[in-house]
């Protein structure tokens, strides 16, 4: 059965619910968990009021994003520890979150991805989030769409 679950988060409340369910799922199946958060500051770089942001500013932005990601992943680690689930995490800077999720699942030899049906930019319950949709399209391993 499942041995290693990848649980991506974007820090949104919906993802938070998926994280809690995913860790419970891991506990009941006896699997370990890798938490995943990715960020990308390229947009800030391009859109900086028509000016290019300085390299120093980009580095600052990256550091901030990394810090935010670590915070979410630390919270996840805490939940995993409480549930006695083996846990590690990946916080990465990638241009495309879905590609990052699929690539990390492959690199870490995960056998299932546990992901919310939509995340931060989820407008409606009737449509699936774009990241989730893309993960589903590109993943070679099973994907659990949580709602």
């Amino acid at each position: 059965m499942f041995r290693h679950i990848l649980i991506p988060t974007d820090g949104s409340p919906i993802a938070g619910r998926a994280v809690r369910a995913g860790i419970r799922f891991a506990r009941e199946t006896g699997a370990r968990v890798t938490g995943y958060y990715s960020y990308d500051t390229l947009r800030a770089h391009v859109n900086y009021g028509g000016y290019m942001a300085s390299d120093k500013f980009v580095v600052q932005m990256d550091r901030r994003a990394e810090h935010v990601g670590r915070k979410y992943l630390d919270a996840m680690a805490k939940l995993a520890r409480a549930a006695r689930v083996r846990f590690d995490s990946v916080c990465a800077k990638v241009p495309d979150p879905a590609e990052g999720i699929v690539a990390t699942a492959r690199r870490k030899n995960c056998d299932v991805i546990f992901i919310a049906s939509h995340g931060r930019s989820g407008l409606s319950k009737l449509i699936m989030g774009s990241v989730t949709q893309k993960v589903l399209a590109h993943s070679k391993i099973p994907v659990l769409i949580y709602r």
């Binding site: 419970r24 199946t29 009737l126 589903l136 399209a137 769409i145 709602r147």
Partner: protein, 147 residues
């Protein structure tokens, strides 16, 4: 966590795999398994040019579909049984297969759907089968997509 799992099957090779995965998962989670087949809408020829066509009666078409459903479900149940789990079987028609699947999940109070990424018409050029794609936004419960 998940107490009752619905597995839609159309008898294709990929949905066989979904049955296998779902059976294993049900065993690990100590959950019940409901095998479900959505009846295909039968397209009857209205006329046939240059040859005589005997129109099958609606009833006969329905009967044939039901017997095919029973055959598919019996094969799936046998597979689950061989892994050591006895499953409930059900088939029904809906406005479309995905509607029938979503309705079946509610009717049986399933809290998880496990289904193949592609079904019988599994054109791999599409990243996700049409019925799976249609179930995802409509399902009220999590969906585990198996490939």
């Amino acid at each position: 966590m998940y107490r009752k799992i619905l597995v839609p099957t159309d008898g294709s090779r990929l949905s066989d795999r979904a049955v296998k995965e779902a059976t294993r998962l049900a065993q690990v989670l100590n959950a019940k398994l409901v095998l479900f087949h959505a009846l295909q809408e039968m397209r009857q020829p209205i006329y046939s040019e240059g040859s005589s066509t005997v129109l099958a009666s609606r009833q006969r078409v329905r009967k044939a579909a039901a017997s095919r459903a029973r055959k598919i479900l019996a094969a799936a149940a046998k597979k689950a049984e061989s892994l050591g789990l006895s499953a409930t079987k059900d088939y029904a028609a809906g406005a479309s297969p995905h509607d029938a699947i979503v309705a079946a999940a509610q009717r049986h109070h399933c809290d998880l759907i496990v289904m193949a990424s592609h079904g019988r018409r599994g054109l791999s050029k599409f990243l996700l089968g049409s019925e799976t794609q249609a179930v995802l936004p409509r399902a009220r419960v999590p969906v585990l997509v198996v490939r």
